[in-house]
């Protein structure tokens, strides 16, 4: 996993969800990445202020 994706890599996450339709995968990806982005900004806010 790349360091920039330490908080979560969607491709790795999807390895645990085989057999999902492409449409559902897209919905999950959008939701997953939005949450990751918020979490990332929260973590950096704790350091940077």
């Amino acid at each position: 996993m790349k360091d920039i994706e330490y908080l979560g890599d969607f491709d790795e996450y999807m390895q645990r969800h085989e057999g999902i339709s492409p449409e559902q995968a897209k919905l999950m990806k959008d939701s997953y990445e939005e949450l990751n982005d918020e979490l990332y900004r929260f973590v950096m806010n704790a350091i940077v202020g």
């Binding site: 360091d3 920039i4 330490y6 982005d37 900004r41 929260f42 973590v43 806010n45 704790a46 350091i47």
Partner: protein, 384 residues
């Protein structure tokens, strides 16, 4: 079209022309006050405002009603309840109600190699537990603390966005010069947040190669912070510089500038302009900042105004310089004369906005009536 819409449309066009590097009809006015200043004006407790956002909103509204601005004149970046939940040692709420950054050394001298190999890994596994007492516990309790703090963070961000939206609509504000996320210069991240001032000054002399590698390793993270998931048109992230004027030019050229330039250029390539706050006097670096993309906006604390206007101001939006604290010592007319001198020097470029040299953080640091008069004068007279 009602009068409020026409006010908004005029402000929007003025701002949009400015950031597009077209000469607007007049010089835009972007005032900026902190929550502390707002509470001082409204005569309410800052402490209460941090924990009851209805108090904060009323305080912000007093600023909006008192001081002219084309954009929302208030800004609050740090939320004490989040730091409470984390047990933060690096960001502490002072007795005066201001969030203060403590000088803490989150990264030790012998941890450069680990950091370079994985900045985020070190942030999550080492620095945050050092910075936050509630994260320096077993995984279950640290997880609970992180969950609480994250929930509080999301709530604060959402509530603040709603407050700003209500105030912008009520007062017909257009966008200003900061419309995107906060990020920092990669060097400042290492210096301010990880090594501390004492540590970084030693590193500059004892381990400049490692320091440079660390700065380069963290640059992708500063870019990730700068670029939101949804990039709106003409969005401007905010980069408040810190140590640039405190290191010598050779150190700036080698350690500070290259990564900052890469950050701004990369953000620009992704559709995000950078509004850079140049703290203290950065006159000697005008040429460097002038080499940045056109989307860079310079908010300037101090320096040779003529040099900025003739240099960086030809190709970039710039503003600042005006020290609002002069209103305590000078008459209203003298303060307006100072604004006139500033405009005479800087307006010709067509790329100038009127703003303070820094946020007003303490309402007692200014004369309310005189500053309000200066802002009104600029709004009514600074036409091309």
């Amino acid at each position: 079209m009602n009068s409020n819409n026409s006010i908004f449309e005029e402000r929007k066009k003025t701002r949009d022309d400015l950031v597009s590097l077209k000469k607007p009809k007049r010089v835009p006015v972007f005032s900026i006050f902190t929550l502390e200043a707002a509470c001082g004006l409204a005569e309410v407790s800052v402490m209460e405002a941090h924990y009851d956002l209805s108090v904060a909103e009323k305080a912000y509204d007093r600023i909006c009603e008192t001081f002219y601005s084309d954009s929302l004149p208030v800004l609050n970046l740090r939320y004490p309840p989040v730091y409470d939940a984390l047990g933060s040692r690096n960001w502490v709420l002072g007795s005066n109600g201001s969030m203060q950054h403590s000088e803490v050394e989150l990264m030790h001298t012998d941890e450069y190699d680990e950091f370079i190999a994985g900045p985020m890994k070190m942030i999550m596994e080492v620095f945050l537990p050092r910075a936050c007492s509630e994260l320096d516990k077993d995984s279950a309790r640290a997880g609970i603390a992180l969950a609480k703090a994250f929930a509080e963070y999301k709530s604060q961000v959402r509530n603040h966005a709603e407050i700003y939206g209500r105030l912008a609509e009520k007062h017909s504000y257009a966008d200003g010069i900061i419309t995107g996320p906060l990020t920092v210069a990669p060097f400042d991240f290492i210096a301010d947040q990880l090594r501390g001032i004492k540590g970084i000054m030693g590193d500059i002399y004892r381990a400049p190669e490692k320091l440079l590698e660390a700065v380069n390793a963290v640059t992708p993270h500063m870019l990730k912070l700068a670029v939101p998931r949804g990039v709106a048109e003409r969005i401007q992230c905010f980069i408040p510089l810190h140590l640039a004027p405190l290191i010598n030019p050779a150190q700036f050229d080698r350690l500070y500038w290259p990564s900052l330039k890469r950050l701004v250029e990369s953000a620009d390539a992704l559709g995000v302009g950078s509004t850079i706050f140049l703290e203290q006097d950065c006159t000697r670096y005008i040429e460097s900042f002038d080499s940045l993309p056109d989307s860079m906006i310079a908010w300037i604390d101090d320096g040779d105004r003529e040099s900025f206007a003739a240099g960086l101001g030809r190709n970039h939006v710039f503003g600042g310089f005006f020290d609002p604290t002069i209103t305590l010592a000078r008459s209203k007319e003298e303060c307006i004369d100072e604004a006139k001198r500033l405009l005479d020097t800087c307006m010709d470029s067509g790329h100038f906005f009127f703003s303070f040299n820094r946020n007003v953080m303490d309402i007692k640091s200014i004369d309310i009536a005189k500053l309000a008069a200066v802002l009104e004068w600029v709004r009514n007279n600074a036409y091309y």
